[in-house]
């Protein structure tokens, strides 16, 4: 296997990691006010994310950095081309991080409600937009040469990205992440939150199934010659049915596991559809970016391969350990003095 293909796989792995991990973060954020009916419940919900959300978010930073290092032309064309959607995602990630850290700092209900509303909105936006972005990449976008033949730019503008296929992709990731988040909450909490999450996942899980089948069928039809897309889509469907089945039988660990597998195979399917391109042209005859013309030199790829092979297992081990340390379910009753914020004090 060439290093270019290897790095294509590494980038896919990073996105798989990101969507599995921050996918449920987004879902939990969106469900914050649906599943919780009062402040202690909301705090319990957010506490399930507390120790891990920041580490989860690093996956997207590394995915961005690795794309920059391994496929600079892809990084440059994609990030400057999808300018406004990425801007919206960035604003969302900024507000999300701050909202998590600041909401409990003091007890005013207005203060908390405002941050909670913000969390719902800024979890919703990226959950939708990442799907839109990836669907557009797979579908192909308007690209053109600028100056030299090696220099390829996105020429489509903003509204070009809002086509029906991409929007369907966005809805698919949105509902997938919401359900994935509900499975996570069911696994990580006790009492009412657990019950409500389990019940909710049944409904959103069905919607996800319909959307995913529609989206993947559309993908298969437009990429007719790709066996891997068909296989990947089949695994997505099977894994999702397994997740829904486990949910029915109240096997929360398995439900979450299978929704993680589903998320992974959605990414695998899309990347299989893409390969060996990284940003194809919507016009089949036009110029496009692939793992060769978008890549760094073999030397840089070799350097980065060494770094990735050493570091990725290490990261997986210590991140995995974090999940083990915080494996206990959280009960809203455990939230100490829910009306008091960290920075509230009697002597104020």
């Amino acid at each position: 296997m060439s290093l270019n293909s290897f790095w294509f796989i590494i980038i896919a792995v990073l996105w798989i990691g990101y969507f599995i991990l921050e996918g449920f973060d987004f879902g939990v954020g969106i469900l914050l006010k649906v599943v919780a009916k009062n402040q202690p419940e909301r705090r319990a919900i957010l506490t399930t994310l507390g120790p891990i959300w920041d580490g989860n978010e690093v996956w997207v930073i590394v995915a961005g950095g690795a794309t920059f290092a391994a496929f600079p032309e892809w990084y440059a064309t994609l990030f400057s081309g999808f300018y406004l959607p990425l801007f919206l995602i960035l604003v969302s990630l900024i507000v999300r991080g701050v909202a998590f850290e600041y909401r409990s700092k003091y007890g005013s209900m207005d203060w908390r409600n405002r941050w909670d509303n913000a969390i719902v909105v800024v979890s919703f936006i990226p959950a939708l937009l990442w799907g839109v972005a990836f669907a557009n990449i797979v579908r192909g976008v308007p690209l053109a040469n600028i100056g030299t033949p090696a220099h390829i730019e996105y020429t489509g503008g903003f509204f070009n990205l809002l086509n029906p296929y991409a929007l369907l992709g966005g809805l698919t990731t949105l509902f997938l992440f919401v359900t994935h988040g509900a499975f996570f909450l069911a696994l990580k909490t006790e009492g009412v939150i657990r019950d409500r999450s389990n019940a909710l996942a049944k409904k959103t899980g069905l919607v996800t199934a319909v959307l995913a089948v529609a989206f993947l069928s559309w993908t298969m039809i437009s990429l007719t010659h790709k066996t891997l897309v068909v296989v990947g889509s089949a695994i997505v469907v099977i894994a999702w049915l397994a997740a829904l089945g486990a949910n029915m039988k109240a096997r929360e660990g398995w439900a979450f596991f299978f929704s993680a597998v589903t998320t992974a195979f959605v990414v695998i399917t899309l990347f299989s559809g893409l390969y060996p391109n990284v940003m194809p042209n919507i016009d089949a005859g036009g110029v496009g970016l692939n793992i060769f013309n978008a890549s760094s030199t073999p030397y840089t790829l070799k350097v980065m391969t060494v770094v990735a092979l050493v570091m990725t297992p290490l990261v997986l081990i210590y991140q995995g350990w974090t999940y083990w340390v915080f494996r206990k379910r959280i009960n809203p009753n455990q939230i100490y003095k829910p009306e008091v914020g960290v920075l509230d004090s009697i002597n104020l």
């Binding site: 957010l46 507390g50 920041d54 600079p72």
Partner: protein, 460 residues
């Protein structure tokens, strides 16, 4: 404004804003780890309270550092796509390494530290804060190595109009990167030390939590003084490296228009309106020659001569950076850092052998000023080193004007510039509000709970 100026403003605003929070994060990560180690070793309650109190401040600050860091990483692609294409083969590597080695370490172990108080053994919990702090150092190194490539490109070869990597070790360990690391990291300790000292001093003057504040004041002030000595030494080294690699930057820093031996260090220089010659100049004889070459008789090249040299080498064009900006930001960087060190020495003297701080209004003002001085100094340091490299984005290889994204319209760039700036402004207000609130609340006394209704030590 054209897209280029908008992209430059956005980069400048994001970077300077991001770097208010970064030095505090780096420095206070280690200081909090030190306080917790003191508690671990001595079991004295005051160190536990100090750890939790300053840990809280550290986290309030950390949040904004993280989220603005994401913008830093993405804006190369968004606003500077031509730059990213040109240097991606080299510049992307340290960025990806930073993510893999540093960001994962920082974020994961900080999460363990925040929520792990009652889940991990004391020793393990202490290890998490040290690992998170180590992550911040690694992060600093990689990003400074990436920046060093922009200041002084090495280990590369231009092939088909793209800079390609020839040797990663040359890029990572060139003296520009190493000297920048030993200049920037101690500066971070300086600002964190000043922050801790300012807060502790304020608490002492107000008579709050004095048993906690007293040792922290000492620790903070000593950190400032030691860090300043390192910053000054590495600054001297950096200046020599810079004079050799980017003589125009040194000449601009000194507003030295014509090449001079026994060059003076300018105390005040006023240039003519067209920026080609000095009108008035007052300086310390030979000091600049010594600073930049290590010899009082050394010749320092002037702006006008360098301009001529560069025209011959790189073709016609203006190779002068904004000279008043370089001149003043260089002086403010040094002056504000030194002032913080002077204040700290004076405060150490005043509190020697258990003496009390005078409880005056002026003393309170000193405590407010102490943390601000180094942070503003650092901001000017970055403004200096980035603006005085202009017109280059990668010195000698690519001009800033050629690095901007060609497909991003002025309108879109303006929209994101305004939005980010407004968002940063709002977040700053909230951040400072929480910060002051946390300081007013003060340290917590440990609460005892019965084993079976033990609440979570930390919940959102």
């Amino acid at each position: 404004m054209n897209p280029l100026s908008i992209a430059r403003w956005q980069f400048a605003i994001t970077t300077v804003y991001h770097f208010i929070f970064v030095p505090i994060t780096i420095g206070s990560g280690f200081l909090v780890a030190g306080l917790q180690t003191a508690w671990f070793r001595t079991h004295k309650e005051k160190y536990l309270r100090a750890t939790k109190f300053f840990g809280k401040l550290f986290l309030i600050n950390f949040a904004i550092g993280v989220v603005t860091g994401i913008v830093q990483e993405f804006q190369f692609g968004m606003n500077w796509s031509s730059y990213s294409r040109f240097v991606g083969d080299i510049f992307g590597a340290p960025l990806a390494m930073e993510g893999l080695l540093a960001f994962f370490l920082e974020s994961t172990f900080l999460g363990l530290w925040i929520f792990g108080w009652d889940r991990l053994s004391k020793r393990m919990h202490l290890a998490t804060i040290w690992l998170a702090a180590t992550g911040t150092l690694l992060s600093a190194y990689f990003i400074l190595a990436a920046n060093a490539f922009m200041q002084h490109p090495v280990g590369y070869e231009v092939v088909n109009g793209r800079a390609t990597l020839k040797n990663i070790f040359t890029v990572l360990f060139q003296n520009t990167a190493v000297s920048a690391f030993f200049h920037t990291v101690p500066a971070a300790f300086l600002s964190a030390g000043a922050l801790f000292a300012g807060i502790a001093g304020w608490m002492l003057i107000r008579g709050r939590d004095t048993e906690v504040a007293r040792p922290v004041l000492k620790i903070g002030l000593i950190t400032v003084v030691i860090a300043f000595l390192v910053v000054a030494t590495s600054g001297d080294w950096s200046a020599r490296v810079m004079t050799k690699q980017q003589p125009m930057k040194m000449a601009a820093a000194e507003a030295l228009y014509n090449s001079t031996s026994n060059a003076p260090f300018s105390l005040l220089t006023v240039g003519s309106l067209d920026g080609s010659r000095p009108v008035f100049s007052l300086g310390l004889p030979s000091v600049l020659s010594f600073m930049s070459t290590g010899d009082v008789n050394g010749t320092v090249e002037g702006i006008n001569d360098l301009q001529k040299q560069y025209e011959q080498k790189y073709g016609p064009g203006n190779y002068k950076p904004n000279i008043p900006l370089a001149y003043w930001s260089f002086r403010l960087m040094i002056g504000l850092g030194a002032l913080a060190a002077l204040f700290s020495i004076a405060l150490l003297w005043m509190t020697r052998r258990g003496r009390e701080l005078p409880k005056s209004k002026w003393m309170v003002r000193v405590m407010y000023a102490l943390p601000v001085l180094p942070l503003v100094g650092i901001a000017f340091g970055w403004i200096f080193t980035e603006s005085a490299r202009q017109p280059w984005v990668v010195f000698g290889l690519m001009k800033t004007a050629d690095g901007v994204s060609p497909q991003v319209s002025g309108g879109a760039a303006m929209f994101t510039l305004v939005s980010f700036t407004v968002l940063y402004g709002i977040l700053a207000v909230i951040e400072f509000g929480l910060f002051f609130r946390a300081i007013r609340v003060g340290t917590e006394k440990p609460i005892e709970h019965k084993e079976n209704d033990k609440p979570l030590a930390m919940a959102y």
